[in-house]
Amino acid sequence: MEPVLSVRGLRTYFHLDDSVIRAVDGISYDLYPGKTLAVVGESGSGKSVHALSILRLLPEPPARIVAGEILFNGRDLLALGPQGMGDIRGNRIAMIFQEPMTSLNPVLPVGEQIAEAVMLHQGATREKAWAKAVELLKKVGIPHAEERVQDYPHQFSGGMRQRAMIAIALSCEPDVLIADEPTTALDVTIQAQILELMRDLQKEYRMAIVLITHNIGVVAEMADDVAVMYAGRQIEQASIHSLFKDPKHPYTQGLLSSVPSIYARKERLEAIGGQPPELTREFPGCPFVVRCPVAMDRCRIQDPPHFHLPGGRVSNCWKQESESEQSRHRYSPAQSAAPS
């Protein structure tokens, strides 16, 4: 099977007056139809900027995609002009955000906003588009959709707004749904409903999902594959089961053992000491080195490349060099300086 979306060596920098923020500094993955890839990492690690880069929703300048390829069904999105990108965005690739209130228009009825998306992308008549809006609201589980379609966003609860966002995203039956922290603002009982809804719809439409989250429980529930980011760089990628069973990168190991679980009470959590680095500083070595319990001298001077390991997984840690399948790396090695 061919991937529907391939991200290769993506780097997105913000060029500010007195500094450069390397917000995304090397991420690569393949996403297959009907599958979910989770992107995890700490606050500020570049998860959202990576997503906005795919859809070209960042203000350029100051943002600039300085390296990489984004292949959608084999076509390089970075080569597309604004017109071509407009056809893809919200149509073939749709996105939902953490705070639905900021992405819904407060002065338009919810139904109007869904209908607009339907008219825009499918060229449907007004009447047909409204009928479709009702159908979509029903599909995402809004009770009394025929009446609620006239409601304004503030008349919806947080969970209902997120459903409405999903309805808009689904209106064009996209191949890829990028969901950026879709349940972070919601209560757990509502989160459970939304995640279930996303899974059902994914099955029905064979949609591929990029799920951005910092919630390891949600990752365990939803993902087929996981990309772990740290300070703008992808530091590990693996299938969900191999990642949890045998995390390779010391950051991933630390992350997984620092999560409390309702399933098992631990006496102490194994916290990772220290803080993530500043993204404006240029560091020659591994970004995790200052917090890493197994750091070697080499880690301070040389940035580890993507080591491809058995089972199709990738780790960016010098400790994995000996396990690596090839000495040459398929993707642009992380240590080669990006043009700026």
Partner: protein, 339 residues
């Protein structure tokens, strides 16, 4: 555990008058509506529940920051609302608070040193400069703050470091009770773990009592020995932490536990969930009878009519569900679903 409670909350209520909609008539939000429990010395007592169920309002009343509409809070045998202002000052030394948002709870113009030592000045303790310095350094050590940070300002720190500063300030006067309102919710997982470990260590070393307010069951399980579950202003279940996780008695607790994702794909992908239908009802118009009945899969006629009593189901295990004592546990109840 000592038999004399440090803190008793007695049928406490807080009702707010608000306008419904833009022009609407006045309505009443029963943010806290008859909550009672006792907290014992050196306990770590959790209050959990979903957004808007009244956790923060309850915490503020316990700290005497808000006056209840009815009911009482008793600290070491004395009613805190009957206190004179001089007594209340003394009380404020005994009870401290840690907030969710380390960004807005610290004064941006103050240095770390002045933030932590401000309580000394307000309460006139450690007047001797050397003594004060000694205490300050001790607090830094407790909380893992570097001495070199003393002259810096809050905005120069990350969320986790700011939360450490907030904790050091809360500990400054050697309190007995700490009310922590979502102290780690704004933090990254790896930083969250540092702060949770810190809170745990401090409790042991300083013999602190915690009231820990949270919406996150995983965090609560890690830190707390007893848990009260709130729904729309009322406590619906209260039990020892392990009992609550293994044998929830209220259908809401059961559903809540079942909704929490578990960071383990082997469990998570096989798990059967109890999905609640519908949203949390508006606190302006809570359903009659048991507030939970419209979302409850066991609901029967009396649930729609009668407010359930809070019953001691087993020793130390309380629940407010009229059908609970007679309920047969279904096979897919919360924890069976976990394993």
């Amino acid at each position: 555990m000592s038999t004399r409670p440090l803190l008793e909350v007695k049928d406490i209520k807080k009702h707010f008058t608000v306008r419904k909609g833009l022009f609407g008539e006045k309505g009443t939000v029963k943010a806290v509506d008859g909550v009672s429990f006792s907290v014992f010395p050196q306990e770590s007592f959790a209050v959990v529940g979903e957004s808007g169920c009244g956790k923060t309002t309850l915490g503020r009343m316990i700290l005497a920051l808000d006056k209840p509409t009815a009911g009482d809070v008793v600290f070491e045998g004395r009613s805190i609302y009957g206190m004179r202002s001089s007594e209340l000052r003394g009380l404020r030394r005994e009870m401290q608070v840690i907030f969710q948002d380390p960004f807005s709870s610290l004064n941006p113009r103050m240095t770390v040193e002045s933030i932590i030592t401000e309580p000394f000045i307000i309460h006139g303790v450690y007047p001797d400069k050397a003594e004060r310095r000694k205490r300050l350094l001790q607090l830094l050590e407790f909380c893992g703050i570097a001495q070199s940070h003393l002259e810096r300002h809050p905005h120069e720190f990350s969320g986790g470091q700011r939360q450490r500063i907030g904790i050091a300030r809360a500990l400054a006067l050697n309190p007995k009770l700490i009310v922590a309102d979502e102290p780690v919710s704004a933090l990254d997982v790896s930083i969250q773990a540092q702060i949770l470990n810190l809170l745990k260590d401090l409790q042991r070393e300083l013999k602190l009592t915690y009231i820990f307010i949270s919406h996150d069951f995983s965090v609560v399980r890690h830190l707390c020995n007893r848990i009260a579950v709130m729904y729309l202003g009322r406590v619906v279940e209260l039990a020892e932490s392990e009992t609550l996780f293994n044998d929830p008695q209220h259908p809401y607790t059961e559903a809540l536990l079942s909704a929490v994702p578990i960071p383990d794909p082997n469990i998570e992908k096989r798990r059967k969930r109890i999905l609640l239908t519908g949203d949390v009802p508006s606190p302006l118009k809570p359903p009659p009878g048991c507030h939970f009945h419209p979302r409850c899969r066991y609901a029967q006629k009396p649930c729609r009519r009668d407010s359930p009593d809070f019953i001691e189901v087993k020793p130390g295990h309380w629940a407010a569900c009229p059908i609970q004592p007679f309920r047969q546990k279904p096979s897919d109840a919360a924890l069976t679903a976990l394993g």
